[in-house]
Structures are given as C-alpha cells and as structure tokens.
Symmetry: C2
Subunit: 343 residues, 2 copies
DNA sequence: TTGTAAGCGTTATCAA
DNA sequence: TTGATAACGCTTACAA
C-alpha cells in the first residue's frame, strides 16, 4: 500500500515494478505480447504483492465503456422474473458484462429513479422485465436513448426489441389440451387486459381455438390480483352455471393461478375432480396442490439469455429494425386437467 | 449536446449557463444557498435543456465515496433471499444508497469474481446473504476489508456483524407447538449440518426442548437437498417405526420442506392426518398443499432492512465490536399439525 | 458570490 | 519495447 491502507493504484504498481503506468496498463489489457518477459514478471509480482485491482470507476470514466448492463425488474417477487434474471446473468457472465439489478417494486417513481441511476452509471444497455408492471409505470422507459430490450411485454407506441413467449401458440396448445380432455365450458381468467399485449394475445388465441370447436362454451373474466372477493364471485358464478357439464378454468399467469387456487380452496371447489384448472407459468408447488396443477411452462431462462444477447447485439452497433423473438412454451399435464368422465 | 449525441457534461452545462463548472457542481451538491437566484435559474434551465445527468463514475472517482452497496446472494432462487433483498432495497432507498446485486448461483468462483468486481467499483459496504451457500464458498469472503454484514449465517472464524433469526427461540416455539399437539415422536430433518450455525442452533434447541418432556421421542436426520432417494428412505423408515404413535417431522428450512413434501407425496404419506409436518420459513403455497402446512415464518424483510442499517453504521465509522442481531419468528399454524387424536 | 486549476485512476497518443 | 503526458467528468482548495 502507498499510504494509510488505501487501495493500491496503477501508479503504485508502476513504482513497485520500476516502470511506467503505461506498461502496467498494457499488461492489464492483454497487450502482453509487446512486453518483455522480464518486465512482465516484475509487473505480475507487483500486482500480486499490492493486491492491486484496477478501478472500474476510472476505467469507465476514461474509456467510456463500462461493460455494465442495467436490469429493471418490476416485481422481483415473481418467480418468473427471478428465472429470467438467472438467464440474463448467465449471459452476462459469458459475454463479460456485469449486471446492475434494480427492482422497482412496481412503483412508478422508483422506475424513474433507477433509470436515472443506470444512465448516470453509464450502463451500455438496459433490459426491462416488465412482468407485473402497471401500465403507467412504463411511461418513463421511453426516455432512455440506450439500447434496450423488453422482456415478455411490449410498450405501446414504443418500437423496441422484445423477447418472450409465443403467446398465441401457447394459448392454443393449452386450449386444445382442455378440449381434448373434453371440457365443455372454459373460463379464461386474466388480470385486467389494459394494454398488456401478452394478455390480449393469450385471450385472443383462446377464443379463436374455442371457436373452432362447436359445442364448446368459452367465457372470460378480468380480475385484479388483489381482489379476492371478485375472484370468488367470478368463479362461483361460473361454477353454478356450468357444474352440470365438464368445466375448466384457464388462468393467464402464475401469480393469478395462485390466487385462483386460493379462491377455489375457499369456495370448496376441487380442482381436477369438480373443475379443470390450467395456468400459464410453471409453479414449484404445482404437483403438491391436491391432484396437481397443469401448467404451461415458459422457457424463462432461455428468454433471459436471449434478451441479453440481443441487447449486446445492439450495443455492438446492430441497427436492424426492432425485432420480436418468441419461444415456445411446454405443457405440463397434471391432475387438474386429467379429467375422468364420470357417470 | 456538445458534439455527436454524446452525453452532456458539467462543462456543457457551465457553458450553456454562462458560468463555471464550480457553480454547477455547487448547484448539484445542495450548496444552493451560496448561489445567486439568477445564476441558479440559468443553471437549472441549462440542466433541463441538455437533459444533463452527472456521471457517477467521475463523481465516485473524485470523491472516493460511491454510495454503493454490494449484495452477494448465494441463491436468488430461494424466496427467503428475495424477501430479504426487498428489505435491503427499501433501506438503501431510504438512506440514499444504491444496491449492486450479485447472484453467485452458489458457485465458488462466482463469489470470488463478484467480490473483486464490487471492490473494483468501490462499493462502500457489502451485505452477504449466504442462505443456500455451500461452506467452501465462504472462504473468499474474508478477503474483503470492506464493512460487511452477514445475513442469517455466521462464517466460522470470522468475526463480523450478523443479522438473522433467533434460531433457538424459534426452534423452541416450533417444538413446543408439536408437543402441545401431542405428537409423541418427532423427526428433525436438516440439510447436512456442516459448520452452518443456524442448523446447529435449531437442532440443539429442538433437542433441548424435547428432553424437557419425558416420554417424547426425538430423532434427527441429515439429508442433502438433491438426494430425494435418501429423503424417501429416511421418512419411510421413521414412519414405519412410529406409525403407531402420533409422529411428526420438523424441517430445518423452506427449501427442504419443499423436498419433504414431495417425498411424502411420493410415499403416499398424508401430512396432517398420518404424520405431522412443520417447516421453518413461510411458503406461499403453504395453505394450498392438502390440509395446509404449518410454518415458522421469519421476519425476512425486517432482517434485510436491519442488515443494511448496520452496514451503514459501519460505513459511517462505527467501530464497536461485531454484534449479532436476532429477530423473533412467528408460528403459523395450519392443518399439518392440527392433530385430532384418533381412536 | 463566483471562477480557476489541480487531481482522482485510468487509457490513448505520441515520442523515444 | 518502453514511458511521459494529456485527457475522461467531476469535486474541491484556493483566489478573486
């Protein structure tokens, strides 16, 4: 150390190795082929001895490139987001980037705050995982001029790369499964549609698929995540009108599936035996809840990984028009839709 | 902008406001009282017009203080960690710090990598959430000379602030509940004890409490999270030897409770009716699994918040000897321990 | 109340 | 193959 326990700097290393800062910098930046073996040795020893670590602050300031990626997550509490994040992280690691993670807790001003923050740390790109985000919260995002990739959800009137699930295909697969299992009436339960394209797409594909099968009855309902009373009402109402046929519920996402399951428990409705149940998003506890819950699993990790690759492509100068990349989901059949036709 | 779409700098602002950098800097750093109203106006306008955001890189480099806190999480997949993180985040926000989150995925070299990284970004303090961490992984942590607070778990031979659950109390409460419910034989299932103090403390309190009640039978077993076969064996064995009395299982943490529940499902053992079940850590799906699962909920958010407060105290120069801060858990009784004495 | 200039730890330019 | 030296964008003596 130079004086009082402070971090060693490149100058300290240079001094210790009896050379100039330039050579040390060269050593650090892989231009080792231009250094003599002897000098290399001395620098190596000095670095080890001083336990020197280059300051990324100074580096970032000087070079202008930080190799920093900002990740804005609307709701870290959502397992979907966590899994996506793992994929992003893996990609960062593989590509030599570092992730700066921000959780907005779904608060609009937090989003603004973090956007400023990321920008002031000169992140080179931003990934936005808007799952769970309220619509108003999206408003600020457009401010940023940085390379940006959206996960799962588009922002209305904002042309930008998006990576997510093939919603139409997935909803079709899910619906067809219910039809094969001979459910006659299906209720599609979603969070309020608003302008959230994923919800619209899933609903639309559901309706289209149902229409292709005459004699089946399709219905839909919008319920907020935090409105259990309404959910109870919606489910009960549907049940009362359709308990004589084989009926099922298709839920738009995992967070809502949790609520639906709770509601059915409250109402004493048994999924699987009395009413079919299928939800988007895999759940760790899916097999533990009664007869198990059939889910449509998203390739979350893959989605995250892919999103980061795309943002890096943009950082590296790709100016192709914004594209939408979608991945297929996987239906995991469990007891809640294993319908055994009863007497 | 000055030239080619680059970010505006403080010089640009100064120029636009027809003043010097110093005044702008003063404006930004709250020393507004020394500025004339007129100058303040001009600066304000210039900043808005150029959409100027100070570079934290430069600021950090110059001042040496970054207001950055590093968070190392062993396993972001664990809901416990996520909740703790939310508390930390809230505290950061309240105190004007920014969180740099790193997920080591429980890989030893990742930990080393992130430690270097955080240090090179000159974070002012580090919070380590070691839940889910393998022991070897802890080895690197001691290198850091930064203010550091541990969450949940101590590092052997490393004297450092720790914030977590009052394990002895919690285990006692849980065990006493089982005794009150008249379970005669209880199996404590834990991940391999190793040097993990939390597991030792919970087990120890369990044993002590059981000993105070003669006629009760206590047993323990160590099972790795990823060894379902062994878990099946352990549970089946216990069941076969104690099915004639009222027996129960006490599980050391939420991750393992998930596995235990799966195992019981495989074995056809019904929690609540055939065997009692109580697990540390609250689970979102606790009430949905059969008759519900009794849990011992930790004040996770609180723990996170408190940890950050402590790290800030250290940053601000507090040199008191390392302390351990523990919070009480809360028992949430559900069907899995609501034992109805049968014929 | 305002501005000038030095310097934080790097990397890039240029000369030796 | 090496090494001064000038930036990078900011804060902070120190002057005015």
């Amino acid at each position: 150390m130079n004086r009082k326990g402070a971090r060693a700097t490149i100058s300290d290393v240079a001094k210790a190795a009896k050379t100039g800062k330039t050579s040390v910098s060269r050593y650090l930046n892989g231009e080792q082929h231009v250094l003599s073996a002897d000098l290399k040795q001395r620098i190596e020893k000095a670095i080890a001895g001083l336990n020197y670590r280059p300051s990324q602050m100074a580096r970032g300031l000087k070079r202008g490139r930080t190799r920093l990626i900002g990740l804005i997550i609307a709701d870290i509490t959502n397992p979907y987001s966590v899994e996506v994040m793992c994929g992003i992280e893996a990609a960062c690691r593989a590509q030599g980037f570092t992730l700066l993670m921000c959780n907005t807790n779904n608060e609009v001003d937090q989003e603004q705050h973090y956007l400023n923050l990321l920008s002031s740390y000169q992140v080179e790109g931003i990934v936005v995982n808007a799952v769970g985000m309220r619509e108003e919260a999206l408003s600020y995002l457009q401010q940023s001029l940085l390379p940006m990739v959206l996960i799962d959800r588009k922002i209305p009137e904002f042309d930008c790369d998006v990576v997510g699930l093939n919603n139409s295909e997935a909803a079709r697969v899910a619906t067809e499964h219910l039809i094969e299992q001979d459910y006659r009436a299906v209720l599609f339960v979603t969070e309020p549609l608003g302008l959230v394209n994923t919800r619209h797409e899933r609903l639309q594909a559901f309706k289209t698929t149902m229409e292709r099968h005459p004699g089946r009855y399709a219905e839909q309902a919008e319920v907020a995540l935090n409105d259990p009373a309404k959910l109870d009402h919606v489910l009960m109402d549907f049940w009362q009108r359709h308990q004589t046929e084989h009926c099922a519920v298709l839920v738009v996402n995992g967070a809502l599936t949790l609520q639906v399951t709770r509601s059915m428990k409250r109402l004493g409705l048994d999924w699987g035996t009395q009413m079919g149940l299928l939800g988007f998003d895999e759940l760790v506890w899916a097999e533990l809840a009664g007869v198990g819950i059939t889910t449509l699993k998203q390739p979350t990790w893959q989605i995250g990984y892919s999103a980061l690759e795309q943002v890096i492509r943009r950082i590296e100068g790709d100016t192709a028009p914004p594209e939408e990349k979608v991945y297929s989901g996987e239906l995991i059949v469990r007891g809640s839709t294993r319908f055994s036709p009863t007497p």
